[in-house]
Every structure is written in C-alpha cells, then in structure tokens.
C-alpha cells in the first residue's frame, strides 16, 4: 500500500486557540498519520460554512484518500481510529471495550468539553458574574470527581491501556490545569491534587506522551 496523502486539518493558526482541534492533532501525531494544517482563523467565513462545516466551528478535516469531509472533533476521532488504526494501537475493535471507549468519548463531548468551555468563558468575559463562575467551576470539579472514580485502581479508562478515549480528555484538562486564569481559582482552592489523585496522575502521564508534546510545539 502506498503512503496515504496528507489529511487537511482545519484549525486556528495562532499559538493560542480553543482546545478542540488539539484533540484531533494528538490522535494524528500518535498514529503518525500525515497531515497539513489549513489556517482557519475565521470559521464563520462563507466558504468554510458552505463546503466544510455547516456549524462554522473548528476543527474539521478533509481526507483526500477517501474523499470525506468531516466536522466535530468527536466524529473526526472516531473516523481516524477506524480508518487509520486497523491494528488497534489506541482503539478497541470489538466487544465491551469498544463500546466503553465510545461512551467515554461521548462523555468527553457532552460532559467535559461544554462545561469546561463555559468555565473558560465566564472567567474570560464574566467579570461581574460570580455566580456563573462558581456554577461552572463546580461542574469542572464534578467531572474531575467522576473521572477520578472511574480511574480508581486503573491506569487508563478502558481495558487498562491507552486509547483514544484517554487522549480526547487531554486538551480541556490542560486548559484548566495550566492556564492561570482558571488554574489559579481551581487547582489549589478546590484541592484538586489531594482530592482527585487518580485523575491528576492520569492527566500528567498523558501530558508526557510524545504525541501530546508534539501537538503543542509552536
């Protein structure tokens, strides 16, 4: 089989941007899938909404090998591991584990991303809205508690090995762990290290992966 053509990844061009494209970037790096970034700083541009993503958000991909255009980071991850991880390096192909991985991906999409995202929004723009800040910081903590419980006695979410489900959580966790605007009010005041050690250990281990480091290189 000849080498695949590079996948086009639509994402922001600057060093600072939302975490969702990084979910895709980490998977691309970890599976050594060739790709090129397409700078998309205006995701509401007409050409982009019309031809790439009707929702006008990044990331999206175009895969010249299959002719597919796909949007929503969760859908893109499902596609990439299905098409480019036939050996199951970070995916489970059958049975119970396969569905566990999918349900954790959905939990990331519906539970972690939106709530962490709202916390970010209120801390950036909600100066005079302490109730909003508090509400979403508490939701962030709740998600950490759920993950900490799931990880009790385990190194990874599914089948005790690294899967795409683990990787999908990394970028939003990194935002609340490393971005002072959120980590200052959260990490020490809520005693994250003390209360959720399984969660912290897991996140730190994932951050040390080569694919994660490469995804955040300037």
């Amino acid at each position: 089989m000849s080498a695949p053509l590079p996948i086009k990844l639509y994402m922001h061009s600057g060093a600072v941007g939302g975490p969702n494209p990084y979910k895709v970037l980490i998977v691309l790096h970890h599976l050594d899938i060739p790709f090129t970034k397409v700078a998309t700083d205006d995701s509401k541009a007409e050409w982009y909404v019309k031809d790439i993503n009707p929702n006008g958000r990044i990331p999206a991909i175009e895969d010249p090998n299959t002719g597919l255009t796909l949007w929503e980071s969760g859908a893109i991850i499902e596609y990439l591991v299905d098409e480019y991880d036939k050996g199951g390096k970070i995916s489970v192909k059958n049975g119970k584990g396969a569905w566990e991985a999918k349900q954790y991906l959905h939990f990331q999409m519906s539970g972690q991303g939106p709530y962490f995202g709202q916390a970010v929004w209120f801390y950036r723009f909600g100066d005079n809205m302490p109730d909003g800040k508090k509400r979403y910081l508490e939701q962030v903590e709740r998600v950490m508690m759920v993950l900490n419980n799931i990880l009790e006695g385990k190194e990874y979410l599914v089948d005790d090995r690294l899967t795409y489900a683990d990787l999908a959580f990394v970028p939003w966790n990194m935002v609340v762990q490393k971005w002072p605007l959120l980590s200052d009010p959260l990490w020490k005041p809520y005693q994250i290290e003390e209360k959720y050690p399984n969660f912290v250990k897991w996140q730190n281990k994932l951050c040390a992966l080569d694919a994660v480091k490469r995804s955040y290189e300037p």
Binding site: P54, N55, G56, T66, G67, L68, L70, W71, E72, S73, G74, A75, E78, Y79, D82, E83, G95, K96, W99, K102, Q103, L105, H106, F107, M109, S110, G111, G113, P114, Y115, Q118, G126, M129, D131, G132, E138, R142, M145, V146, N149, I150
Partner: protein, 254 residues
C-alpha cells in the same frame, strides 16, 4: 406492525430530551425492552447500583447482553444510539452502512448534538427556568447560542432534499435532536422562527416509533405545554427548580 424483536435490554431512563432519544430509537427498531424509571425525587441516579452502570450518575443508561451472554453496560445517550444502530439495525432502517460517507455525516451531527445543542439548550433551561435568580446575561448568552444552533439545523434542513439531517432516511442524527427541539419553548426559543425545522419536528412526530418512544417512561407533554402562557410555564418550572437546586447542592458537597 410485526411483533417486537425480543432483547435482553433494560433502559434506565426519565422522560427528558436525552432519555427519549433511547426509547425512540428502541421503538423505531421495533425492539422489546424493559424500562426502569429512575426517580430524581429519591436521587436514585446517585445510588451505588446505578453508579455501577453509569459512573456519571446521569440518565439514560442501558444494559444488554452480548453474544456470549455477558452483561454490557452503556451510558451516554449518544453511545447508546450508536450501539443500538450497530447491533440491531442490520437492515439500515435508521442508519447507513458502517463507514459509508453518510455514516460519518450522521456521526458529525450526533456529536454536534451531544457537544453543542444538548449542553447549550440545557444551560438555557437552567438560566431561563431553574436558576435561583434570573440572570439576564446568562439567559441571553445561552438562548442566543441555542438559537444559533437551531439556525444551523434550519438552514441545513431547508436544503435537504428528503427533509432529514442526513440523506434519505431518519437516523440517529434526527433522533438525538428531536426531543430537544420539541422542548425549545422551554429554553425560550420560538420554533416559528425556524420553518424548515418546525416542518421536520412535526413530520417526525407522525412516525409510530417517535410516538411510542416519546412517552417512555412517562407521557411526553411538550406539544401541549408549548401552548401555555408564560405564567403557566413559570408555574411548571417550580417543580423542577426544587430538585435541580437540591441536586446542585448535593453535587457541591461531594
């Protein structure tokens, strides 16, 4: 209708937009299943036996048996829909062949619902109906974002040749969004502003699977409720306020 296909499925649910996704899918596939109604009043979703099925303590959740008779537990409505399509829809009544382009397009919309429409409309509900105080800023932010998401669907459906989100048939993309759109009024969104979406909402209501599934485990009252006055809706919200605020306190304590 042909008699239902027997299964080992038990659905743990409540009649909410996320809950009825699963029951509508089960009915569309004409499957026989058991229903366990979860009681929010008794905080049953936080009991140990339920957390063993769903560590996140949310509905819906489901158990089934695999080919070897081992119990499978699935939580997150989106994963439940994907599981049911892959396991029980071999004839592709409400899905497309796995890994076809249409299959991936359905997955995009499903993820969009899970990560966008559901959470944002949920926040609009919170600020519009359940929050201890009415904060105009919070209400506006989430009602506007919900309207943007409705506009995305409306624009797409207006151009869709068959009137479904993806291709020529109803899929989990439609099923996952439908219960949310039926309750748009609750979040403060006026369905008449979105004509193609409104047409889609009522077209799907005519399907026997939607009709049966929306009333699980309790009667779906969205279509009667949307005719009520703002004052009557405020009255309806009070019952929900009690357990939402109790649940928030409980979550904060953990």
């Amino acid at each position: 209708m042909a008699s239902k296909t027997p299964t080992d499925i038990t659905l743990y649910t409540v009649g909410t937009p996320n809950g009825i996704k699963a029951s509508i899918m089960l009915e569309e596939l004409n499957l026989d299943y058991k229903v366990h109604k979860i009681s929010f009043d008794k905080n049953e979703q936080k009991e140990d036996w339920f957390l063993a099925i769903n560590p996140n303590g949310r509905i819906p959740a489901m158990t089934d048996k695999d080919a070897s008779g081992n119990t499978i537990r699935i939580f997150e409505s989106g994963a439940i829909l994907e599981y049911l399509a892959a396991t029980y829809d071999k004839d592709h009544k409400v899905s497309y062949p796995y890994a076809s382009n249409e299959h991936w397009e359905v997955t995009s919309w499903l993820m969009w619902q899970m990560g966008g429409l559901g959470p944002m409309q949920g926040q609009a509900n919170h600020f519009n109906r359940y929050a201890p105080e009415k904060i105009p800023y919070g209400i506006n932010r989430y009602v506007n974002e919900t309207r943007r998401l409705y506009r995305t669907m409306d624009t797409h459906l207006a151009q869709a040749p068959h009137g479904y989100l993806v291709g020529d048939r109803v899929t989990v993309a439609d099923i996952s969004c439908w219960g949310w759109v039926a309750h748009g009024f609750w979040a403060g969104v006026e369905i008449d502003d979105f004509p193609a979406l409104k047409k889609w909402l009522y077209k799907l209501l005519e399907r026997p699977g939607f009709e049966a599934g929306r009333h699980v485990p309790t009667r779906h009252t969205a279509f009667e409720q949307m005719k009520k006055s703002p004052e009557e809706l405020e009255e309806d919200a009070k019952a929900g306020q009690k357990w939402v605020q109790a649940g928030m306190k409980q979550d904060a304590k953990q």
